[in-house]
């Protein structure tokens, strides 16, 4: 089962939930924790894994042979990203804009374009006290996170439970993380910002047709807007975590919640069994 942990708003506790869920389930199941927030990966801070392997993440970019090129301009015409341009007797490529689709090299009438690889990040894997761990790291200055996330997901397969920690937001990196999950947990906080961004996140998972439920973090600080919204939309709230200076202090020191406050473990086991029930119910209704 693949469980993604997402949120529209940043800083609502994705990492806290992902790491504590993994730590709570590891004695009973084979668990892989996957940090898909490749721009700012933080799971490693809390589970301190031993990294045992690493692979580069590469994109394919065009390289034009100016000997073979007749400067016909076909490549520039077909490139949807304006990543290749022809000026007189020169061809310029803009690797940062290239999505690596391969159209230019395939369609070049002179076969003057070959593809080279360009490194945009790495995938690392390892383990931490019984948890399998995979994370992606986007290189500083690179813009495109989705190819790194795509690769990270490929390295995290064949576990009973795969927990994916998503980046914040609602656009392509989130969609790439969440899209083939069995379930998505949406984190939020009980504030107007939390509500606004939760609604956007809910619209996204509905678009992707993935079953989901909400976790409200730092209850007690804000207002009732998030609860009211969930009630009206019939969205289950599977867990609430109170605003608690001890929890905040543990987080600030990089200590996972269930390591610092072990009584939370039973809540996370319950969370998993609630998720499993929702996923099973959906599978059965589809079969029927």
């Amino acid at each position: 089962m693949i469980i993604s942990i997402a949120s529209g708003k940043g800083g609502t506790g994705k990492t806290l939930i992902a790491t504590s869920l993994a730590l709570s389930l590891k004695d009973k199941y084979e668990v892989t924790l996957v940090d898909c927030d490749v721009e700012e990966p933080n799971d490693h801070i809390f589970i301190r894994p031993q990294i045992t392997g690493t692979d580069p993440v590469e994109m394919r970019i065009p390289v034009v042979s100016e000997q073979k090129c007749t400067f016909c301009g076909e490549c520039a015409r077909i490139c949807a990203y304006k990543a290749i341009a022809v000026f007189g007797k020169h061809v310029l490529t803009f690797p940062q804009l290239c999505h690596g689709c391969g159209a230019c090299s395939y369609l070049c009438p002179e076969i003057a374009i070959i593809e080279e690889t360009r490194k945009i990040g790495v995938v690392e894997w390892g383990n931490s006290d019984g948890i399998k761990f995979v994370q992606g790291i986007l290189n500083v200055g690179e813009a495109m996170a989705p190819p790194v996330i795509h690769k990270v997901k490929e390295y995290a397969k064949n576990s009973d439970i795969i927990i994916r920690d998503a980046p914040p937001g609602t656009s392509c990196p989130v969609v790439e993380t969440v899209r083939d999950s069995d379930f998505c947990l949406l984190l939020t906080e009980p504030t107007p910002f939390g509500l606004n961004d939760l609604i956007l996140a809910v619209e996204t998972v509905r678009e992707l047709d993935i079953p989901y439920a909400v976790i409200i973090n730092r209850t007690g600080i804000g207002d009732a807007g998030v609860e009211d919204y969930c009630r009206e939309e019939k969205i289950l709230v599977l867990l609430t975590i109170p605003l608690d200076t001890e929890i905040a202090r543990l987080y600030s020191r990089g200590v996972a919640l269930v390591d610092g406050m072990p009584h939370w473990k039973s809540r996370f086991l319950q969370l998993y069994s609630d998720i499993k029930e929702m996923v099973d119910a959906r599978t059965n209704s589809i079969k029927r």
């Binding site: 996204t204 678009e207 987080y251």
Partner: protein, 298 residues
């Protein structure tokens, strides 16, 4: 005119609450919300929308089942796994158009994609340029670029001195798009190990794009050891820590009221944010004078 972009690396560190207050404190400015996938600044500034534009960006492939010969070539060449069983998955499609160029039956066309909206609004603090990216859409970087373009235009028309941009979290596409060419980045950092880790990366991105950075430590008193670590890291990087804001629930209370915190409270948080703006505007003025001197020298 100078453009200040507020970033953080890690999400939820208080960017929008601080930017909302800068809208109150700064004179002759245009506000811009560059966090187009989860925009929140409008919740503090109560904008009245004056202009709404559609944001068309990118294309999506579409297969005409009547023309399709089911040869499978499109499925084989698509590198985004966006075509399965001769159907296009619009979410996976990146709009490269490769399939439409190679289809022998000319069964594939590329359709324009409406990816969101761009707004120019009035607020009691001055103009706000903001946007909303469509659900599960790509090209947030392009929409950010449009927001900044539009903000610049509004600023020129109004003779504004500053553009103050609320930025997105992370270091990827929308951050790169927010940052390149800005005059100054203000990084809002919280004193947690995650916050420190993410600060180092976003600071490296600022350096990569040649944008000078300033740091504001938010909720500095939740872990003062970490706060000291941030200060010494900043010192080693030659980055000035311009403010340390204490943790206080008034920030959330103000958010619930839908007003910037400096209008809601006279307490320590507000005092510190006021001092922050005074410092930043001083630094920006100094930077402006230096640029002017240099250009005169040339």
């Amino acid at each position: 005119m100078q453009e200040l972009i507020v970033l953080s690396g890690k999400g939820g560190t208080g960017k929008t609450s601080i930017v909302g207050s800068l809208a109150v404190l700064a004179d002759r400015k245009v506000m811009a919300d560059c966090d187009v996938d989860a925009a929140d600044l409008h919740l503090l500034l109560s904008p009245v929308i004056k202009q709404k534009d559609e944001f068309w960006s990118g294309q999506v492939a579409s297969i005409d089942a009547y023309k399709c010969l089911y040869c499978g070539l499109c499925q084989n060449i698509c590198r985004f796994d966006a075509i399965n069983n001769f159907e296009v998955d619009p979410i996976a499609c990146e709009g490269c158009g490769f399939c439409s160029h190679i289809c022998q039956a000319e069964a594939i066309t590329m359709k324009e994609n409406m990816a969101g909206h761009l707004f120019i609004s009035d607020t009691k603090y001055g103009p706000l340029v903001h946007a909303r990216l469509g659900i599960a859409q790509e090209n947030s970087g392009k929409l950010v670029a449009r927001v900044r373009q539009q903000a610049k235009k509004v600023a020129q028309d109004n003779g504004a001195e500053y553009i103050i941009c609320d930025g997105p979290p992370g270091i990827g596409c929308p951050v790169v798009s927010s940052l390149s060419g800005a005059n100054m980045a203000l990084l809002i950092i919280e004193p947690t190990l995650s916050g420190i880790h993410d600060m180092e990366r976003v600071m490296a991105v600022c350096r990569h794009f040649g944008v000078p950075a300033l740091v504001c430590i938010n909720k500095y008193d939740i872990n003062e050891d970490n706060t000291r670590e941030i200060e010494s890291y900043c010192q080693s990087q030659g980055v000035e820590v311009v403010a340390k804001i204490p943790f206080d629930n008034v920030v959330t209370e103000a958010m619930i009221k839908g007003v910037p915190v400096v209008e809601y409270s006279e307490g320590n948080v507000s005092k510190e944010i006021k001092a922050l703006w005074q410092k930043i505007s001083g630094i920006l003025e100094e930077q402006d004078r230096t640029v002017l001197r240099k250009s005169r020298a040339i």
